[in-house]
């Protein structure tokens, strides 16, 4: 590792420690529904539960915004991300977005694009939709396979084209790379770039949710390294391709993302889940939930809770992080990779063969 990167990593550590003390709420996820119009092979949601779990009423969410969050933040500096399930399944999405916009919040959503018609898109933009991420997991056949819906690809492409035609929207495409698509990355890139994509985020699928039972979805170590090298070469060629936020990446730090690794969960990221639970990123296990909006004050939880997120020394108590020399920079990997019992699902540095 070169000296400049090493110094930068130490400075980043210092910055992160300050940030933990400041813990400015910058991103708030709202798991607005568990309903979905596709049935992805890799989904981390439990779709059996989705049928029976009702959407959270919009007024419950807005009550928390009005009474618990707005008095303590500058709304312009908080991004609210409406997630799911598929947020477009909510008929009142435009009204909720407008209500957030009127309160001064930026808001965005993550969608598979299937239900994003031109009319809906215009309505959402008029309601202040500021940013959008569209999932596209490969060329047509592979995307349909992963999403398990015959119109999934058509929907994603339509959504991408709508976004590409709107010059004032911040948007990107995310792709879950798997064993079927790892060798097609240049072809996927060409397809995406040909329809106007300029920001592309790629990531591997982790062994959780339905993906855990399907080894075809998960990259092996060589394939993971190949993915890193691909991103590096794309960025060197001037294309904005990034790896997702998870995982300390050793010598790849600073080369595959626009920032050095940090897990922002509980430091600048919070969420309100479908049942009112207060957490950080929505894929984090239940054991790490910090409260519930139906019982607790969100702001009090944000200020006084999240201790296991802001002090991660507990992650150093067990393997593989116990004697890890990179712990200062990694701090035990992303919170979403911790199981209920505290053990770690995956070490990226290990996958890269850089733990020595």
């Amino acid at each position: 590792m070169n000296v400049r990167l090493k110094i930068a990593l130490w400075l980043e550590r210092w910055r992160r420690q300050n940030l933990k003390e400041l813990h400015p709420l910058q991103q708030l996820f709202w798991e607005s529904t568990l309903r979905c119009n596709v049935h992805c092979l890799h989904c981390g949601s439990d779709c059996v539960a989705s049928v029976t779990t009702p959407d959270m009423p919009a007024e419950d969410f807005l009550r928390v915004i009005d009474t618990e969050i707005t008095p303590h933040v500058d709304p312009h500096k908080v991004l609210i991300i409406i997630s799911g399930g598929e947020p477009l399944m909510r008929k009142d999405l435009t009204d909720i977005g407008r209500a957030l916009h009127e309160r001064g919040y930026r808001w965005g959503m993550v969608t598979n694009g299937l239900a994003l018609t031109e009319k809906r898109f215009r309505e959402l933009r008029q309601a202040g939709l500021r940013s959008i991420t569209i999932s596209c997991d490969g060329l047509e056949k592979d995307h349909i396979w992963l999403r398990q819906h015959p119109l999934a690809f058509e929907g994603a492409i339509r959504a991408i084209k709508l976004c590409a035609a709107d010059k004032n929207l911040t948007w990107d495409v995310v792709t879950c790379v798997n064993q079927r698509t790892i060798n097609q990355l240049p072809a996927i890139r060409d397809m995406l770039w040909s329809i106007g994509v300029q920001d592309w985020r790629v990531f591997g699928i982790d062994p959780m949710g339905r993906a855990a039972a399907n080894p075809e979805l998960i990259l092996d170590d060589d394939q993971f390294r190949h993915l890193m090298d691909f991103i590096v070469s794309e960025r060197e060629a001037g294309r904005h391709v990034s790896y997702s936020c998870e995982g300390y990446l050793g010598t790849y730090e600073g080369r595959v993302r626009d920032h050095l690794y940090q897990c922002a969960a509980g430091i600048s990221v919070a969420s309100i889940l479908i049942d009112g639970s207060i957490s950080a990123c929505t894929s984090i296990r239940g054991k790490y939930y910090q409260g519930n909006i139906y019982k607790d004050s969100f702001w009090q939880v944000w200020e006084e809770g999240f201790k296991s997120y802001r002090d991660r020394s507990w992650m150093k108590q067990s393997e593989p992080c116990k004697d890890c020399k990179a712990f200062a920079f990694c701090e035990g990997n992303g919170m979403h990779l911790r199981r209920e019992d505290g053990s770690l699902m995956l070490c990226h540095l290990h996958r890269l063969g850089q733990t020595k």
Binding site: E21, K77, S244, R255
Partner: protein, 68 residues
């Protein structure tokens, strides 16, 4: 007061980090600036994946410009 100082230190640290590593030519937006571009890539599960923030002015323009 302490919060203000920490924020200022962090801005300086961010600039130093960026100067040191550069994040190569693709980093069109400065993550670590005073009004950070909240760029936040996310998890393995696209149903919970996060997304970009934008470096928008405090006073947003009205959203009447969509696909006009």
């Amino acid at each position: 007061m302490r919060k203000k100082i920490l924020s200022r230190i962090n801005i300086a640290l961010g600039s130093a980090i960026f100067a040191l590593v550069g994040m190569n030519s693709c980093a069109r937006q400065l993550l670590y600036g005073p009004d950070p571009v909240v760029k936040y890539g996310c998890p393995p599960d696209t149903t919970v994946v996060a997304l970009y923030g934008v470096n928008m002015p405090v006073e947003e323009p009205p959203f009447t410009d969509t696909n006009e």
